[in-house]
């Protein structure tokens, strides 16, 4: 292997541009299904005795699920060699934000009906709402800087540093769920375990990388180490 050839594992599966476009359309449609089901239930008067609670829970659940799916892209890519997964990450991240907006909007409009005093008191006094609110606010800059133009403007490293806050946001999201449940911790526990695996894999790989670099002779560490990570497109 020469220095100019990018290392490629045999498991790499490159997809054509056409296939990637088709995949994006498919993921886009699939990602709208939870909203579609909610709307269908609404029009069929099938949201149950407490429709606002049903909508709040559904949009909250899907925010967390999309966040975990988004965070699963990198580990899945590493484990499978399906590098095209990365091309879906931005859309999945934006759907996380989309469902978060619906969740937050449901709380402000349907649940509190613009009772700003009650909202402020909730955010200040109730830890689960405080962390949920913080998670939502922290998602905003990530959504705003999701365009190619913003990636260029910020520069890859700064962009990436900013977007690493998603790990903290995910923890806040799971804590938000954990703290609001009355007694049955089963579901929050599932989310927490999945998040722990997704973050744990990253920590493990980083540690492995650190050890590898430490053991590498300093002369060789010069040339190929600073590979700019692949940015989402």
């Amino acid at each position: 292997m020469t220095a100019t050839t990018a290392p490629r594992s045999p498991s790499v599966k490159a997809l054509s541009a056409g296939k990637i476009s088709a995949l994006k359309v498919l993921v886009f449609i699939l990602s709208l299904i939870p909203l579609g089901l909610l709307l269908l239930a609404f029009f069929q008067d099938d949201l149950g005795a407490n429709p606002i609670e049903t909508i709040t829970h559904a949009t909250g659940d899907w925010t967390l699920r999309f966040l975990l799916i988004t965070l699963a892209v990198t580990p899945l890519r590493k484990l499978t060699g399906w590098h095209w997964l990365l091309r879906l990450r931005r859309m999945l991240g934006l759907f996380t934000f989309f469902y978060a907006v619906l969740h937050f909007g449901t709380y402000i409009v349907l649940d509190q009906f613009f009772d700003w005093r009650a909202v402020v008191l909730d955010v200040l006094k109730r830890p689960y709402i405080t962390v949920g609110f913080a998670a939502f606010v922290l998602l905003v800059p990530l959504a705003v800087t999701s365009t190619n133009a913003m990636v260029r403007r910020l520069g890859g490293r700064r962009w990436q540093a900013l977007h690493r806050s998603v790990y903290g946001i995910a923890i806040l999201g799971v804590v938000h769920y954990w703290w609001l449940v009355k007694a049955d911790m089963f579901e929050p526990l599932i989310y927490a375990l999945i998040l722990a695996v997704l973050l744990g894999l990253r920590a493990w790989w980083r540690e492995q990388e650190r050890l590898r670099q430490r053991s590498a002779p300093p002369a060789q560490a010069n040339g190929h180490r600073h590979i700019i990570p692949i940015l989402p497109r």
């Binding site: 149950g48 005795a49 407490n50 606002i52």
Partner: protein
């Protein structure tokens, strides 16, 4: 089935009833699952006949009642009560039942009795056995609360036998307290001289007090109790002290610090 002719009780809230389908499909009965739709799906597995309620402890005449005897303790009456859940939603429900005092008088409480403990069915064969709460579900009242004329033993709603998910065949209804105080599917009633442990108080003593009187001024540590959403309404309404029953029950708590004894 139909419960036949019922005595018209003066205890009737003049507010629109919550539709039967909501009363029977939106339930907290954790033994049948923690989603509010779960009990309506799962509770049919519970066998409610034959059924007995054992009444024991500090009573002159301890007794085990079967369903026939329970139904004959007092004339069945229809009472329309507000129900306020600790989760800040509420309903208006036409219960059918009789005063708990009728049952307690039948067993002749001793002078030393101060509290009443309620133990509900826990049947692992038909119920969710995950340790969400310390099963069997236990609740408790002070004896004067238990003897209060508003305190009801319900055997039906909307003129018919209580559906399983609502706590068949016999449940407690204490309308000025948060809903979890009104224990469902009761199997044992025990009169004691000291305050009994209760499942929710054991699970979260800072969050669920022994008294748990509906109180808009004392928030749950994690959410406000100032307002509630009446099922079917869009806008929330203000929560009333003692769930609107202050005139009848507030005197029982005279001189008590209700922030401490929440």
């Amino acid at each position: 089935g139909d419960l036949g002719p019922l005595v018209k009780s003066p205890f009737r809230v003049d507010e629109p009833l919550t539709p039967r389908k909501d009363v029977t499909r939106y339930n907290n009965f954790y033994e049948f699952g923690t989603d509010k739709g779960d009990p309506a799906i799962n509770a049919h597995r519970m066998k409610t006949d034959p059924w007995t309620i054992k009444v024991e402890g500090l009573v002159g005449k301890p007794r085990t009642f079967d369903l026939d005897q329970i139904y004959k303790l007092a004339p069945l009456e229809e009472r329309i009560y507000r129900l306020r859940c600790v989760e800040a939603w509420s309903m208006v429900i036409p219960w059918v039942g009789f005063p708990l005092s009728a049952l307690l008088k039948a067993v002749e409480p001793l002078g030393s009795a101060r509290y009443v403990e309620f133990v509900t069915l826990f049947d692992p064969k038909v119920m969710d056995t995950r340790p969400v709460l310390d099963w069997p579900y236990k609740e408790g009242l002070r004896l004067d609360e238990a003897m209060h004329p508003l305190t009801l033993m319900a055997v039906g709603l909307y003129g018919e036998v209580l559906p399983n998910q609502n706590g068949a065949p016999v449940r407690l209804v204490v309308p000025w307290k948060y809903g979890f105080k009104s224990a469902k599917s009761i199997v044992t009633i025990r009169l004691t001289d000291k305050q009994p442990n209760t499942s929710w108080n054991d699970a979260g003593p800072e969050e669920y007090g022994f008294y748990s009187n509906v109180n808009p001024d004392v928030d749950h540590p994690r959410w406000s109790q100032a307002k509630e959403r009446r099922i079917g309404d869009f806008l929330k309404r203000k929560t009333l002290p003692f769930n609107g029953y202050a005139d009848q029950v507030a005197s029982m708590y005279a001189g008590m610090d209700l922030r401490k004894n929440f």
